[in-house]
Symmetry: C2
Subunit: 174 residues, 2 copies
Amino acid sequence: MKDIQIRPATSADFDAMWTIFTAHIASGESYPFEPEASREAAQAYWFAPGVTSCVSVLGERVLGMYRIMPNQIGRGRHVANASFMVSPTAQGVGVGRLLGEHCIEEARRQGYLAMQFNYIVSTNTAAVMLWKKLGFSIVGTLPKAFRHKRLGYVDAYVMYQLLQDPDHWPTADA
Amino acid sequence: MKDIQIRPATSADFDAMWTIFTAHIASGESYPFEPEASREAAQAYWFAPGVTSCVSVLGERVLGMYRIMPNQIGRGRHVANASFMVSPTAQGVGVGRLLGEHCIEEARRQGYLAMQFNYIVSTNTAAVMLWKKLGFSIVGTLPKAFRHKRLGYVDAYVMYQLLQDPDHWPTADA
């Protein structure tokens, strides 16, 4: 674990990221993309303008990645949105937690005041438990909003946490 | 009221839609766009590929508009997202309600199984009351997620309703 590093993703990482991405999409259990999602769609997802993407690496091997972007424009841009994927061959060893902690720290560093997940599949209990451990609460439940590959339509959660004490948030429209 | 019609928006409607759009944005009370949002951003918002937009008109005058699009891709595309704007000079006469009813009917016609609003500003009580009347429930509360122009950071709601009886939803991944 101590040799795992997290750093900004570059285009040289994309082949490894694409392998992880397709494995997640194929499962149909956590992300909305259809299995036929293109490399271009994945590229846009991880490297669009305004997106910060980081990878966790062990030597040259990419173990997982996250991205941060504003969840809304303008009057909602103080809330970050984030997404995570861990390689199926690196699960259960704490990579998700390392990525989550790094992501929260990075969001704070970028000045975000809160972080929101729009669409955590309710049956993805490992993710729900991890995000609760890292300070998130379920603030919404979307009935049957995710078409799970094995389980059919299941609920999705909205999860959220404040990243800064609201008493010290910058004044709005000063 | 009986002379108000609702029909698909065309590029010929855009000037009128832009006037309504800028009035809403200027208030800073309901939509995240900053006041300096461009015509191009508004055009993309109402006429992007995959978006259905309709206007309510009284003769040649545009009173308001809505758009429908999938709230997520792929495994979430059965849930519609919708947005509404009514001209400040046509408020309080039921245009919002007509648009809402039309939008729900149109979403059903397009085969959507549910509808979700991601970001209803909690202090926009007229909107919250209207959507409740039309069958929506508040399924989530996003703490301080909207930077209101007059009130500072206020909560936003996620609102949701099923559009079809889940017992009759098409089988997932048949």
